[in-house]
Structures are given as structure tokens and as C-alpha cells.
């Protein structure tokens, strides 16, 4: 295990880390919007807990990103003082909550991916990455158990719930492909043994999804069309509104200590 400084350029590594941190941050933000509004008290607790884990993960990734960047930016500068185009989260993470079923489907699709990714990252050549991955991996495994279970129960529930969950699949599926499309940043991270190639994560993800969809009596869309852009800063219209809210205090009172 060595530091990866020599094997991957800092700016590329920074970008790769932002993808991890921003996805956790934005997904955590979306999940946190449920606070006090969920269908049942146990879900209020669970959703707050998932959001909390995700914000915790975002803090670790963004802190490391700031360290790698070496310009003195910490987790808060990165979270609060970048505009949308500098965010590197998956488009899937920023999709609106929709109904509870859409929120759970989004969570499941990302959890199943993150669980694979973090398992691989636990063996990263970069010790700092591996350390975060081990911690986050435990949390995400638990999230995946929950979200998979809920997708199954809501899919194989009532006629209405199945229809809603199938609708959730149709809406969100086109945003899932982005997780497995590598680019130069991913290649550099893979070459430096920091991370696996995104493409390599797909087969296991597909198995998980297939198994859960079968149990949930849901069908997978035929199309493999994938929206992309989030990982390189081309987002949907939603992110700007998320950030307007999220960043208000830091923007309105620059330099204040909270």
C-alpha cells in the first residue's frame, strides 16, 4: 500500500474524489428532504439515518479531495462554494424524490452500485481511499439491505404499489447507465489501482438488480439508453435549485464561522 501521488495526477484524482463526495452529498440532500414527511415513522428514522451516513461519507471524500487538491479548500468550501457545473455527482443522485417509491428505487439503484464500488475501493492502492471505503462500505451494505427489501415489498405489494414501482423504474432507469461508463478520469484511477473500472462493476450490479426486480415482480426496461453528464458537470436543471437552498448561508454571509 503506497501513496498514489506518483501514479495519478492530482487534478484527476481530485476530480475522481469529487465524484464520490458529490454523489454522497447530493443524494444525502435529497434523502434529507423527507425529514418529517415520510409514510411511516420507522421510515422517518431510517431516511434520516441514511442521509446522515451519506453526509458523513461526503465529508470524508470531500476532505480528502481538498487535501489532494492542495489549495486549502476543505469539505465546506467544496460543498458550499462551488456552482453546479463544478459538481461531479451522478445525475441519478439529483433526481427529485418523487413519491416514496421513486426515492427507494433511486436509493436501491445507487446502493447496489456503491456497495460494489466500495468493496473494490477497500482494496485501493491509496490507503486513504481504502480507509473511507471500508467505513462507508459497511453503511452502504446496510442501506442496500434496506432499499432492496423495500423495493421487493413495494413491488410485490398491492396493484397500486407495483404500478408505482414500475413507474419508478421507467423514470430512473435511464439515469443508471452513467454509473458504468468510464472516461479518462476513471481510466487514470484504474491505471493507478486507486479504483476499479466502472464497466467492471456492471455485471454484479445487474445480478443484484435482476434478483431484486424478480422478487419484486418488476420488469427491467428493454432500453439501455443512458443519460450522462453529471460526472463531468453537465447536470439536470434540478441541481441548481438544490444548491441555491443548500448554499444560501455560506453565500449570504461569506467568511462567517458557524
Amino acid at each position: 500500500m503506497t501513496d498514489t501521488g506518483d501514479n495519478i495526477a492530482n487534478d484527476i484524482f481530485f476530480d475522481w474524489l469529487l465524484r464520490r463526495g458529490d454523489t454522497a452529498l447530493v443524494l444525502g440532500h435529497r434523502v434529507s428532504e423527507w425529514c418529517g414527511h415520510s409514510p411511516v415513522l420507522e421510515e422517518d428514522i431510517a431516511l434520516a439515518n441514511i442521509a446522515l451516513d451519506l453526509i458523513g461519507q461526503a465529508r470524508l471524500w470531500l476532505s480528502l479531495a481538498g487535501e489532494v487538491e492542495g489549495k486549502g479548500r476543505g469539505e465546506n468550501e467544496l460543498a458550499y462554494l462551488r456552482d453546479a457545473w463544478d459538481f461531479r455527482n451522478l445525475l441519478l443522485a439529483e433526481q427529485p424524490n418523487g413519491d416514496f417509491g421513486q426515492t427507494m428505487m433511486r436509493q436501491f439503484l445507487i446502493d447496489a452500485y456503491q456497495a460494489q464500488l466500495l468493496k473494490a475501493l477497500a482494496k485501493s492502492a491509496d490507503e486513504r481511499v481504502a480507509e473511507i471505503a471500508v467505513k462507508a462500505g459497511k453503511e452502504v451494505d446496510y442501506h442496500l439491505d434496506r432499499s432492496a427489501d423495500l423495493v421487493i415489498r413495494l413491488g410485490d405489494g398491492t396493484a397500486e404499489s407495483r404500478q408505482r414501482m414500475q413507474m419508478a423504474v421507467e423514470i430512473l432507469w435511464p439515469y443508471s447507465g452513467e454509473m458504468f461508463i468510464g472516461d479518462a478520469v476513471d481510466q487514470a484511477a484504474a491505471a493507478a489501482k486507486v479504483a476499479p473500472s466502472p464497466e467492471d462493476l456492471r455485471p454484479d450490479w445487474v445480478s443484484t438488480v435482476d434478483a431484486v426486480f424478480t422478487a419484486a415482480t418488476l420488469s427491467k426496461p428493454e432500453t439501455d439508453f443512458a443519460h450522462t453528464g453529471g460526472l463531468t458537470g453537465r447536470h439536470s436543471e434540478h441541481l441548481g435549485h438544490i444548491l441555491a437552498d443548500m448554499q444560501f448561508l455560506q453565500r449570504a454571509y461569506p467568511g462567517a464561522t458557524w
Partner: protein, 312 residues
Amino acid sequence: MSAEERAFQERIDRGEKIEPTDWMPEGYRKTLIRQIGQHAHSEIVGQLPEGNWITRAPTLERKAILLAKVQDEAGHGLYLYCAAETLGVSRDELIELLHAGKMKYSSIFNYPTLTWADIGAVGWLVDGAAIMNQVPLQRTSFGPYSRAMIRICKEESFHQRQGYDIMMKMAGGNEAQRRMAQDALDRFWYPSLMMFGPSDKESVHSAQSMVWKIKINTNDELRQKFVDQTVPQAQYLGLTVPDEHLTWNEEKGGYDFSEPDWSEFFEVLKGNGPCNRERMAARVKAWEDGAWVRDALMAHADKHEAARTAAE
């Protein structure tokens, strides 16, 4: 008093805990259901004013702390509904009563959170007042309620310290932050005092609750204690308690202070607080929008159970 009632009261007087399967007077059960249910509802509705700032928390650490707090509150709601359920009323029944306007929640949550300092003030003052109410209830006579209170108090005092910590940062911050801190204290001071309820000198109801050890102290005692604890904290923050009659009374060893405007209290109770309608609308909407989820979970469990039974 019947023999049963006498025996019941003697157990309470000896400091024994009453457990769900024990005999209890109908009035004891009803009063407890109302009190515990109201407390549970308060935890749930109380998520809303804080949830209003989760998406806008000024740092990731503050966001995480606030999320953890709101999670705790939902958890408190769960303990309390469970405690109420041991008295023979289901959580869904209690929720329906809340939504129908037949049960209350703490009026404090009908006030809005308008700046980030309000999140500090809610922790410091609102949780502070809540703890003042709850600490004695750890010794309440009904076992499940007492045990729930013990768990809750531990977490609440943590929340209060976090709230005070926010106030420290704000009061020690820039001019706008100091202004936010003072403004939050100005708005939350009297509503916090109201949290103890009107003076209960004349309430027979309260007297019976005290005999049953469902209520341990009078509202006025607790309010005095809260003021005595909070005023020095405000002073330490460099903030001004919005009460020009506030003075130290050496003789009683406590502060003399102004009564809150009880007409405001009764207005809020009647539904005319700044946020009553919205709080209830948000909860009812969450409940109605979530009906399909609850139905589906139930249907799935039934299918699963049927399949299991068939296999046997």
C-alpha cells in the same frame, strides 16, 4: 375510593412502577394516553421546524448534527407511541386523533424557524424546557413511560448542548450572526416559558396527576427552574432576555420575571399560531401520500404469511 384504587395508590406511594398488565383506574389510563400521546405527537411534529433548516445547514458538520437530532426525535416518537400502545391504544389511532384535531402537540412547534440561530434556540430553549419537564418524569409511576423518559432525557440533554453550541458560535460571530442570535432569543423566550403551561395552582386535574405521579412538579416550579437556569446562560452569550422586569430576587433565590402573554398561548392552542395550519397540513399530507406504502407493506406481509402457512 375502592379497595382496588386504594391498593393502586399505595403502590404508587411506595414508589412502585405500574406495569401495563397491572390493574389501573380508567382515569389514570386515559390521562396517561393523552399525555404520552401528546408527547409522541410533539416529537413527530417537532421534526418539521428543524427539518426546515436541514437542507440549509451552514456546514456539513452542522447538517450532520441536525440530521442526527431529527432522527433521535423520530426515535423518541417511536418509544412514546410504544409506551402508549401498552395502554391499549394503537399508534394509528393516536395519529388519526391528531389529524382530526382531537389531540394536541406542543404549541411551541407552531412557531416558525426563521434563521439558523433558531435551530440553536430550539435546542437551547425548547429542548431545555422539555428536559425540565421530562427529567422528573423519569420517576413517573407508569413503568413503560418512565423507561422511555430515561432514554429520551439522555439524548435531549445532548441536543440541548448542541443547541447552546450553535448559539455560542452565533453570539460570538459577526454582526449579522449576533443579530440572528438575539432575534431568536427574542422570539423563542416567551413561547418557551409557555411550554410549561399556565399556572396550575387552581387545576384539580393537575392535582390528581401529581397524586398519580404522572406529573411530578407544578408548571410554575418548572418554569421558575427554567428561568433560573437559562438567564445566566443568556448572559454568558451576551444576549438580552427580552423581559425588562427580569430581576434577581435574593430572598427566593431565583429570578422574578414577566408572565408570557397567555392570550397568545390560547390563540395558538386554538389554531391561530403562525404555523398551526401548515404543520398539520404537512403531517396529514405525509400520512395520506404514504397510504399506498403502508397498504403495500401490509399486503406483502399478508402474502408472505399466507405462503409460509401454505408451506407448512
